[in-house]
Symmetry: C2
Subunit: 112 residues, 2 copies
DNA sequence: GAATTATATTAGCATTCGCTAATATGTGTG
DNA sequence: CACACATATTAGCGAATGCTAATATAATTC
């Protein structure tokens, strides 16, 4: 059981950003074009585009072109399942994690 | 269905680092002390300690003290399940994600 | 209680990351 | 072909992150 932790970390990092989580939620049930996503999230086109590239590079989403539109969707059902389990586990610890945030200037992770 | 994406992202970020993934794997089946982990991973004590604090702050692991030792273990069975699913989904996309790494200097996510 | 061992914290640095603004590419339309 | 619209890319900045080395705290042992 070898393990490439670097690459695995990169994969998971795809999920570890608030904007990317919103994008994933946004396209979870239905493929959407970039501009639809930008609209729904009320986001910046460049920013969303970059996050989409990230998610694609991480193997989390796929795209298909239709005329001048590009539709993005989750890669497959396993990704959906993973998102659901993440959510389920997250709600268990949410309070604790949020609390950890409160009392420090440097991030919870590296912070003293 | 409200959603605090900031906090959720922070939770997931706990899993998105190669050292933390190694730590989690290391204590997956059995609680371990800091020095055991440091030894097994051949790591830096300060570094490991900081990552443990991060994982704890993210609600992923818990600790208990026994004399001068502090034992760390995964928070609960759901975390194990999440790790397993992450692994299962990861192996599907591993090749692709690794490839994405190759050809760029800036990170896969933000990189041109 | 001095020395030892185990762990945590701090500080500082180099790198990565996420964002915005500007520009480029590509595709359809008059 | 000129123009509009959809998306991608680039550059640059400030903030977050991960690392190491040094120091602090806490519990243990002699």
């Amino acid at each position: 059981m070898k393990a490439n932790y670097e690459v695995k970390a990169k994969f998971i990092r795809g999920f570890s950003d608030k904007t990317r989580l919103q994008i994933l939620e946004c396209i979870k049930n239905k493929e959407k074009t970039v501009s639809q996503i930008v609209d729904e999230l009320n986001g910046n086109q460049s920013n969303i585009s970059q996050h989409l590239a990230c998610l694609k590079g991480c193997g989390i989403i796929v795209s298909r072109q239709e005329g001048k539109y590009i539709f993005y969707s989750l890669r497959n059902a396993e990704i959906v399942q993973l998102m659901n389990i993440m959510e389920a586990v997250f709600v268990q610890v949410e309070g604790e994690v949020a609390a950890c945030d409160k009392n420090d200037e440097r991030d919870c992770c590296s912070k003293p």
